[in-house]
Amino acid sequence: MTELVLPPALILLAGAALVALTRGPLRNLVLLVSPLLTLWAIWQVGDGVVMTGSFLGYDIEPVEGSAVRRLFATVFALMALVGGLFAYRQARVYELACAYAYAAGAVGVAFAGDLITLFLYWELMAIFSTALVWCGGGPEARAAGIRYAIMHLLGGVILKVGIEGIVVHTGSVDITPMLAGNFDSWMVLIGILINAAAPPVSAWLADAYPASSPTGSVFLSAFTTKSAVLALILLFPGESVLIWIGLYMIFYGIIYALLENDARRILAYSVVNQVGFMVCAVGIGTETALNGAAAHAFAHIFYKALLFMSAGVVIYRTGKTRCSDLGGLFRTMPVTTVCGIIGALAISSFPFTSGFTTKTLISVAAETEGLALVYFLLMAASAGVFLHAGIKFPWFVFFQKDSGMRPKDAPWNMAAAMVICAGVCIGIGVFPEPFWALLPYPVSYDAYAPGKVLFYLQLLLFSGLAFFLLLPWMRRTLTLTLDTDWLWRVAGAKTAAGVFRLGALVVLRLAIAGEFLRSRIPALTAMLSSTGSLGSTWQIGTTALWIVILLTGYVALYFL
C-alpha cells in the first residue's frame, strides 16, 4: 500500500483549520466528517513504511504503519470525534479547532516512522494543548498554561537533544527499540517521560488539566500521556527502569487523589495513576505486557474521557468543582450520575467493564514473568484505584450530602457523548475478543475465568467496605497538597526574586560608586593639572634625589 495519498494526521489538521474558518451547520459537518475521514485514512495505512520524504537532508518516514500504531491512531481519532460531539455546542470555536489540531498531532506521532517526524508532531501537540489550557479562561488558566508550556517545551528540548545525539552517533533517524544505555537514549527517554507525567514532574498534569474549560479537559486527558505511552512502546519496550517509574506513578496518583478536594484534580491524579500501569507494562516488555499497555491505553482514553465528561457536565451546570461544594446531584442528573459511575467502575477494572479486561492483561504479564513484588503491588494498586477514583469520585460528586443544588442533567450532545463512551467501556468489558484482534500480538487469554472474577470481586468490594468504614477520615478539607511543583512555583520563584534583588543591589551600589567618582572628577582633574600635586613638573634636584633613594633601596634588596 505505497500509493497512500494523504497522511491521516494532515486530514485532521486540515479539519482543525476548517473548524476555525467555517460557521454554523458547515462547521458541525466538518467536526463530524474530518475525524471520520481520518479514521478511514488510518485504516488504509498498511504495515511498514508507506510514505517517505526528505527533510533537511535526512530521509524521513512521515507515515509508518503497524498494528499498535493503528490502534493508537484509531483511538485518538475516535476521541476527537466523541469529544467533538461532547463539546460542539458549548465550547468556543478556537477551543474546538485547538482540540482537533492537538488530536492531529497525536495521530501524527502514532504514525511517525522516524524521530524527526515524531518530534515535529510532538511539538504540534505541545503548542495546541497549551492553547487548550488557555481556553479555560481567566488568570488561573493563563498562569497554568504558561507553566504547562514551559514544562512541555523543556521536555521537547530534552527530547531533541537526545534525538540529535542519536542522529550524530548512529547516523539513523529510524524509530527502533532501544534501551536507556547512553546519554542520547536517556535524553530521549526523559523527554518522553515528561509527557507521560512521570516523576519528578508529574505535578504538571494536575496543575494544568483542572484549569482548562469543562470541555477542554476531556480532550487534554486523551492525547499527551497516551502518545507518550505509544512512544515508550515503540522505543523502550522492556526497559526495566520503567517498571519502577510506573509503580511510583501508580501510588503517587492514588495518594494525591485521596488527599484532593477538587473533582477534576482527583481525575487528573488518576490519569497519572493509570498511565503508571501502562509505563510499568512497557517496562515488563513481554508480548502480553505490551498488549496490555496498548489495550489499557485504548480503554483508558474512553473511561477517562467519560469521567472528565461527567465532571465537565457538573461544572458546566453548577459552576462548582470542589467536592466540598458538591453532593446529592444524583437526584436531578441521573444520566450524568450513571455514566460517571460506569466510568468509575471501568477505571477500577471492575468485572464486565473495559478496565477489567485490559488491566488484568498487565498483571498476567507480571505474573508470567514471575515478578511477585510487581504483581502484588499491582493488585494493591487495583484496590487503591477503586478507593480513590472508583468510589471517591462518584460518591463525593453525586451522593455524599445534599448540596441543595438541583441542576439540570446534561445537554443532549453531552449526554450522547457520555452514553457512547459508557457503551465502549461496557462493550470492551463484555465482548473483549473483537477488541483483542486489534492488539499488536495474538492474545490467548481468558479474562473471565471464574476464579479470577471472584478474586477481583473480593479485592474491589472489600476496598469499597474500607472506603465507607474510613469515610470519617476522608472528610474533604479546603486544601491543596504540595508537590514537586513547589520547587518551581515557590522555591524557584523566591530564588529568582532573591537573585533579582541581589542584582539590583549590586547595580545600585555600582551606581552610587560611579556617582561618587563622578563627583570627584573636578578634584581629580585639579590634581592632574599642571598646577596640581601629581601633574606639576618637579625640579631636577628633587627627581635625582628620588632616583638615588630608589636605586639604593633596589641594590640593598638585591643583596639581602
Binding site: F251, I254, I255, L258, L259, N261, G328, F330, R331, E367, A372, Y375, F376, M379, A380, A383, G384, L387, F399, Q400, K401, D402, G404, A449, P450, G451, K452, L454, F455, Y456, L457, Q458, L459, L460, L461, F462, S463, G464, L465, A466, F467, F468, L470, L471, W473, M474, T477, L478, T479, L480, T481, L482, D483, R489, V490
Partner: protein
C-alpha cells in the same frame, strides 16, 4: 450505602437517602461481601504465588491495602496539605 451525612428533613426526601433504604443497602452490601468470600469454597481461585490462593486472601488484601493507603495519605497530608490559596500572591 449512604451514610448519615445525608440529613433527613433537609428538603431531601429522595428514597435513596431515607435511613431505612440506607440500612437495607448496608445489609445487601454485607451479604454480597460475605458471599464473595464464601463462594471461594465452590470456585477455586488459582494462586500464582502460593499465598494468593488462600481462603479470603483477595478480601483481606484489598481491605488491608486500602486501610494502609488511607493512613499513608493521611500522614502525608499532615506534612503536605496547605490552604487552597497557598499559591496565590
Amino acid at each position: 450505602m449512604h451514610d448519615a451525612d445525608d440529613k433527613p428533613g433537609n428538603g431531601s426526601d429522595h428514597w435513596l437517602t431515607r435511613p431505612g433504604t440506607i440500612r437495607k443497602l448496608w445489609i445487601g452490601f454485607v451479604v454480597v461481601l460475605a458471599s464473595t468470600v464464601l463462594l471461594q469454597s465452590v470456585i477455586k481461585i488459582k494462586g500464582y504465588f502460593g499465598i494468593d490462593s488462600l481462603f479470603g486472601f483477595g478480601a483481606i488484601y484489598g481491605f488491608g491495602c486500602c486501610v494502609l493507603m488511607v493512613i499513608s495519605a493521611k500522614a502525608l497530608g499532615v506534612l503536605l496539605k496547605r490552604p487552597e490559596d497557598y499559591f496565590d500572591d
